[in-house]
Amino acid sequence: MTTISDVGAAAPGPAPASAPAATRGDHRGSWIPTWSMVTTRFMELRKRRGLMIALAAVNIGIPVVFLGVRLITHAVDPASYGPAGGYDIFTTLVVGFMYIFGFIVAAVVGATAGSVDLTEGMFRHLVITGRSRMALYLARIPAGLAIVIAMVAVGYTIVCAVCVFAAPTQLNYDGVNVPEGLSRPALDTWAAQHADKVICNFNFNGGPGLNGPPPSVPCGNGQTTGPPPGAIIKSTQGGTVTVPAHESQAQIRSFAVAVANQDYTDYRANFLVPPTSLMVDVGLWITLEATIGFIVGLGLASLIGQRIVPIILLVVLELILTPLFSRHVVSHLLNLERGIVGVAMVHIEPGNLPTPFNGGGPGGGGGGLGRSLLIPESTLVSALVIAGWLVFWTAIGAWRMMTRDA
């Protein structure tokens, strides 16, 4: 039974008054966070020493150590160890390392930002301020991204700098030192002058008028290429051709030029140093990947209310599910596979890069072998999938923040 015993008689204290001007100008019900909220949230994350060390170690430390070792070994013994930088190293580091681990590290920061207020008891202090819970949630996004993007930017800048300034002086294409950036006629001229190297090393895919390598082209170590003279081989146009005993130098040069022509597009995708436009594009691409990692980590941690499980789930997504579903088509789950953000990200990767999850390193090539193995998806669908993930996880995290008991 609830009874009220004469409390109403005693109501001391100040007389009721209307809200003062300071209170009237206080828009704490607004869902837009203030600058102070963002900066203090940034401080809260930045002061997590262990997290920051891990973040710096992965995003900056590992590339720096890798490149540092290469710089030193090349300086000590340039004959045995190639240059530290260059296009190949750039693609290997970016696709094979920074892209994947940038996502994971960003997810760790996001999961931390999304859960620590709750687990460390600050959430209720913040709710009691009367500030919009939506604003409390949204303040974490710019604060966390400022850290994640800064780390990615520093690591990426170091990689770009080393790859540009410590690049090899000659382009190594299919094991042959070739001048970089030749036009098609110039490559033809160069191929005619180095016919044996081209014939012995460049990829040859057959084609009209090209029945096979000419005989007796020396390739070193006493080896020759092409079928033996007098052999009967199948023509690519049908029928058979008898390999002549000897080809003239003119015929050999002509064949080398034809092979070089076949490989020109692939050759043009190889650089001594990564082009500026590619570095910009790739920088934006790995930043987007890190942003996705942070937003999803934040939303998932806010939903679950803890840090470890979201991190594990996102590592599984990035290292297991995405490689799996980006390569293996399950026909009745194709649209679901397309909905995986990692698959969408691979589809919008800048050209001239090997695809991620393809073992890293060059070889996939923009539009080449690696990309051809991906499940089909248009750029528009990829963009929608990425936007959808960002919006969905932001919404789900904010919703949980607004409805959770503090």
């Binding site: 039974m1 009220i4 005693a10 109501a11 809200a19 019900g29 909220m37 460390e120 008991d405």
Partner: protein, 327 residues
Amino acid sequence: MSTATLASASPALAGDGQWAVETHGLTKRFGENVAVNDVELLVPRGCAFGYLGPNGAGKTTLIRVLLGLTHADAGTMFLLGHQVPRHRDVALARVGAIVDEPRFHGHLTGRQNLQILAAAREPAAKSRIEPGLERVGILHRADDKVSKYSMGMRQRLGVAACLLGDPQLLILDEPMNGLDPGGMLDMRDMIQSLVAEGRTVVLSSHLLDEVERTCDAVAIVDRGTVIRQGPIAQLLAGSSFEVQVECAEPERAAHLLEGTPFGSAVKAAPDGLAISLPEGTERDAIAQINRLLVGGGISVYRLQHIQASLEQWFLSVTKRLGEEDGE
């Protein structure tokens, strides 16, 4: 902002409404368990108000509902005259609270934790960090990490966090927890000084002695229900009390009283008798005892009215309710 400034600013920051806290039919359930049951609570402005109850009575749950930390299942509530949760942003702008054990980011300093909380309040809150830390007596440790703070220091930091909003209403859940005797005395003084500035302090506690020393009014809650509320003096005025009688010949005095309505309440005491009188007994009973003894030829040296303590009153009320439930 100095303490004096805080005090002078306070009255102007009051919201509309006569009561600092007002609830009607407030109910909160967790499944089958009714943690807050149809609570009608009226907390006057400008006083220290104790919200008392045994462990598990629903004290903290009521506070959590009031502050919007969890939703109510039924009822209406007002803080400083503003209906919550509808106008929670306006209402909570002038409310400070500690709920449960005050916890903060352990890797940050006390000052940095307050900076985070001040950022979520109005811009002026930032300028209240230093005065707040000074007032609770931890300014000298403000730049130490909270992970190195004792429980008592975290309590003080919690109070400093409450003061960031220049609150008209402070709600403190078990504020004496973890404090040593000196800390409890400081906390009591602080609460009284806050009330003296015109603020309202609601504190929930099961430390009845502390509440009696600190508060002007109380509400008693048991199993989610408010069973009594009002000014302490008023509540105790109608409660049982004891009359200590210092007299000659205590045995004969006891024998003399046996045949009267007071007979069953008489006990022997070191210098005479102690007579326990039930709730609702008029003060005239003391004079009546005196007349009986003097009329019987007993020399009476001293008669002292001993009012029951809040603790005794609380125990008698809750015990009686328990007995009623058992019947």
